[in-house]
């Protein structure tokens, strides 16, 4: 991944910064140009909550390019306490212990390395709430 591309997405991936609709209160992640629910473009900065519960998950055993060394790893759809859904990696847990409905909290983690000379990519993942 190019450095500018990585850099400009840092607030979203590392702090879960997004936008909230001023008109109807709907939160979209990732942010959109207009509210997905009401179509308004009156959007204000909003940081997603750091807690939620697992709506669905999968254990990835056959990974795409760049993630081969990390299998098996867990991907999940998390419903945050403000009801926003996000797709993220679930970490710090044995894949066989993951279950739908489990409470989770956000944590800053390495995601992958872009080859031997590329940048190391970081983002928010979620782990079982402690």
């Amino acid at each position: 991944m190019s450095v500018p591309r990585y850099w400009r997405n840092m607030p979203k991936r590392e702090k879960l910064e997004s936008k909230k609709c001023e008109k109807c209160g709907h939160v979209d992640f990732p942010p959109r140009a207009r509210c997905l629910k009401c179509g308004s473009d009156a959007l204000i900065p909003y940081t997603l909550p750091d807690r939620g519960k697992l709506t669905s998950f999968t254990i990835v055993r056959s990974a795409p390019k760049g993630f081969e060394k990390m299998t098996p790893y867990v991907l999940g759809v998390v419903e945050l306490i403000d009801r926003t859904l996000i797709t993220v990696q679930i970490t710090d847990v044995d894949p066989s212990d993951v279950a739908i409905g489990m409470p989770l909290e956000s944590v800053f983690r390495k995601v992958c390395e872009d080859g031997d000379c590329g940048i190391i990519e970081y983002a928010i993942k979620f782990r079982p709430a402690v």
Partner: protein, 384 residues
């Protein structure tokens, strides 16, 4: 707007065509479509393709194929809508003919997946999802669909067996399709015991990787009548979209793009779901089949397993689903798949489907999805 007909079609077998290039595959399909009718010219070429720029290092596919087929200087371009590219190309060709801009449009799709090396093919297919927010986390096309399947199993208490049985039916249907990539029967255990790719999706829940091309000629119904009596009419056609990111949807188990495209296509054709005799649906994974059957309106949400086990998807049932074997067993040459589906429905309605033939089929539907539901193209054909 002029009424539009599918005048003719041609398909290659879906397979790992090691000896054939992208242009040769489409050339074979196009030659089949062209050889069965006599037309004065091809006025335009609109072709669907997803992965050529990644796997064949080739862009500018419209001109490439016009050049290869010897139809320059006719207008040509390629349409990309991930796995929905074929259906999108047909919608493009439909509007080009219906509007009166072109009379004879060669359309369809082509995909050459086996030119990918190592993990490139999986990575290229993954680009159908949101690269910056889904792919970034190490998700693949399979794992995004696995998130939907796990949720479905949890919410509707559906066991893996119900999904496995759909794969079994698809393989059975494919034994009658000369163009199918996997024309052999399997058992429920074959699916359940196959390697887990991304829980709960195992290898036999997935469509295979393969190459293929399907070509169709669209023209005004008034001209088609003078050329052949085996044309079929495009009664309804529509496309619709949804968010790329599945977690941005209000319900990850509803394919809104399919619902919306189907609603518009039914309305345009002036038919209801009960009128559909035969359908080719987009079963990229067994879970995609379940969501598609439900969101097209063939059964209520969560009732896919019941509809399947009661035989309602086979001859004598409510609707014949995927007599070709579907993506699961006919194969899924991604950007060509939607074109195969429409060609197969045209074949059914003109009574030329041979051993695959659905009895007395008059109205048929093809549903082609791009991404994990981010776009859908629905085409309804009618026997004139």
């Amino acid at each position: 707007m002029r009424k539009v007909a599918v005048l003719s079609y041609g398909m290659t077998k879906v397979d790992k065509h090691w000896r054939k290039s992208l242009r040769e595959l489409y050339g074979d399909a196009a030659k089949n479509a062209l050889s069965s009718v006599s037309i004065p010219s091809i006025d335009a070429l609109i072709v669907g393709n997803m992965c050529a720029s990644d796997l064949s290092d080739q862009n500018n596919i419209g001109a490439l194929l016009a050049d290869y087929l010897g139809i320059t200087p006719s207008m040509a371009y390629r349409i990309e809508a991930a796995c929905g590219s074929g259906g999108a190309a047909i919608l493009g060709a439909y509007t080009a003919v219906a509007s009166g801009l072109y009379d004879y449009v060669l359309t369809g799709g082509v995909e050459k997946l086996t030119d990918g090396v190592g993990g490139n093919t999986v990575y290229s297919l993954g680009k159908a999802s949101d690269a910056e927010y889904e792919l970034f986390y190490g998700s693949s096309f399979v794992s995004i669909n696995a998130l939907m399947m796990n949720r479905y199993m949890h919410l509707y208490r559906t066991p893996r067996e119900a999904f496995a049985d759909f794969a079994v039916l698809m393989h059975k249907n494919a034994t009658k399709n000369p163009c199918a990539q996997l024309p052999f029967e399997i058992s429920r255990e074959t699916v359940l015991n196959s390697d887990m790719i991304s829980d709960p999706i195992s290898l036999y829940d997935c469509a295979p990787v393969g190459d293929g091309a399907a070509a169709l000629i669209l023209c005004p119904v008034d001209l088609a009548k003078k050329i052949t009596d085996s044309y079929v009419e495009v009664a309804g056609i529509a496309g619709a979209t949804d968010t790329l990111n599945i977690s941005s949807r209000s319900d990850i188990l509803t394919l809104n793009s399919t619902r919306e495209a189907a609603k518009r296509a039914y309305r345009m054709a002036n038919v209801s779901v009960a009128d559909i005799d035969v359908a080719e649906i987009h079963d990229a994974f067994t879970i995609t089949a379940a969501l598609s059957v439900e969101d097209l309106g063939f059964c209520e949400k969560g009732r896919f397993g019941k509809m399947l086990s009661s035989g309602e998807m086979e001859a004598g049932g409510k609707v014949v689903i995927n007599p070709s074997g579907g993506l699961k067993a006919r194969g899924h040459p991604v950007g060509a798949t939607g074109a195969y589906q429409v060609a197969e429905i045209a074949m059914q309605l003109s009574g030329k489907a041979d051993r695959m033939q659905a009895k007395d089929a008059e109205i048929g539907l093809a549903q082609n999805i791009g991404g994990s539901g981010s776009s859908t193209y629905v085409t309804i054909l009618r026997r004139p």
